[in-house]
Amino acid sequence: MTVTQQAPAVEIQKVAARFRSKKRDVLALENVSMDVRPGEFVSIVGPSGCGKSTLLKLVSGLLKPSAGAVRLLGGPVGGPRKDVGYVFQRAALLEWRTARRNILLQAEMRGMPQKEAAARAAELIEMTGLQGFEDALPHELSGGMQQRVALCRALLHRPPVLLMDEPFGALDALTREQMNVELHRIWHETSTTVLLVTHSIAEAVYLGNRVVVMTPRPGTIAEVIDVELPRRRNYAATMSQPAFASATSHIRDLLGAATHRE
């Protein structure tokens, strides 16, 4: 691994997350430690229920770890952080707002200048192929379109850290590829640090500098795989690289072993 002098953008230190209620006591994460360098793209894969969404919520301060500590952009996370862009697993759109106004919610809440926000929103709508649906309400959009609206909303303020929880889960294969290429381009052109949770191994490898593979609950890190591919990647060319094939098959083995153990 390359040694960088910069402080990590995200530091996760011996973190555990436990959900306790009257009915059950769930240990979602246990002893998870990981550093993410600024500008790095880290993909997270793991079986359902292993605590991937929980991990993203810990990083953004929406949840408090029951043990350990999380640091973001050099400071301790002690509550919800606004220096992130968040794409939730469900699109979480306001059903009374049109697609455009759902995207602009980000600007309104942050008090961004209106003109700049409108221009940025138009740019993102164009990029995600939502033109023509700017004035549609969420219930008039397909699941995949709703997720694209949520993605635009997360990118509107050009966040230094982007947290994405299965953002492309509801997309068809072709649109998903296009979105992967777009996301890769955005990441390449900006210095955004990205944490992406996904169930697609190909997506994880194509996009990630590293892929974190997690074990079933309680989630721990099974292995972190360095993806030996150039920083700038062409989709079709990447798919046929030996490094791509070896990484995906290795991850598949890890996940298979993990699920069989359960």
């Binding site: 919800p80 939730f88 979480a92 306001l94 809440m109 942050r110 309400l137």
Partner: protein
């Protein structure tokens, strides 16, 4: 790709069609039912199944309403005024109480038992007390209308404010949104569909409240017309009063529903007013 399946779905929205036709399409059933009720009423009196002095004929009742239009209009306006004012006060106070209760658990713990107590006390039984306290004017009737309409407003608004998607609120906190902005842009609009279902109950109850208030005190309003007519065994006037009162309730209900359609078009359309036709 794993087989390209193309499904063609054509949608036609009724929204764009002839609006009058749509209205007729939607409302012929209730009108037919109403006509049937009038028909039965007419038959009962026409063939003297029940004696005329107990149940007047529909014709005679409508005739009376026409003859005494000025008198009835005056009293309807009085009841309408009490109802609307009572309803508006109930909405303002009820929404404010709900917001406070959701904002603070302490307030909720304090207010909730009080509200419940106020709700279980029969308003009809305490109405005379308000007349003793507040005199024979409009005030005691408005107070009864407020009291009776208040509860559904609070309950529906509290439910609405509490049923906001928690992930939506988490999202707002990643945007650094202030509690005020979160309330205005997320919580409040999200609770409106709930509030409106409470308002529809509240507005019809407000009519009842105003009339109950008129029963126990004063000498104007539809309630007192009915009471007087009852005392004089003037059944045509009694029926006229009942008819107009029901009409008042229906009109106010329709007004609330109209406001809902106007303010929450997204909600109405999601309920499926746009018809999808698949071939």
């Amino acid at each position: 790709m794993k087989g390209d399946l193309l499904i063609v779905v054509q949608t036609v929205t009724i929204r764009d069609r002839d609006r009058l036709g749509e209205l007729a399409e939607r409302s012929w059933r209730p009108f037919a039912l109403l006509a049937a009720c009038f028909g039965i009423w007419w038959a009962l009196t026409e063939f003297e199944v029940v004696p005329r002095y107990l149940v007047p004929s529909p014709g005679a009742t409508l005739q009376l309403i026409a003859d005494k239009a000025g008198y009835i209009t005056h009293h309807t306006l009085v009841t309408g005024y009490e109802t609307v004012l009572g309803f508006v006060i109930a909405v303002v106070v009820g929404v404010a109480a709900a917001v406070l209760m959701v904002a603070s658990a302490e307030v909720e713990k304090t207010l909730y038992p009080l509200l419940l107590f106020a709700q279980v006390v029969p308003k009809i039984a305490i109405a005379p007390l308000f007349v003793v306290w507040l005199g024979f004017g409009l005030t005691p009737r408005i107070v009864v209308a407020v009291l009776i309409a208040f509860f559904p407003v609070v309950i529906s608004m509290v439910t609405g404010l509490k049923s906001v998607d928690p992930e939506m609120l988490q999202l707002a906190s990643t945007m650094g949104a202030s509690p005020a902005k979160t309330f205005v842009k997320i919580r409040f609009p999200a609770s409106l569909p709930f509030l409106f279902s409470g308002l529809k109950v509240a507005v019809t109850l407000a009519v009842t409240g105003a009339v109950v208030g008129e029963f126990v005190g004063g000498n104007d309003g539809l309630g007192s017309i009915i009471l007087q007519a009852n005392g004089n065994l003037d059944t045509p006037m009694l029926f006229a009063g009942l008819l107009v009162m029901s009409l008042l309730g229906v009109v106010l209900f329709a007004a609330v529903e109209f406001a809902e359609r106007l303010l929450l078009p997204w909600h109405a359309s999601r309920r499926g007013d746009a018809v999808t036709v698949t071939y």
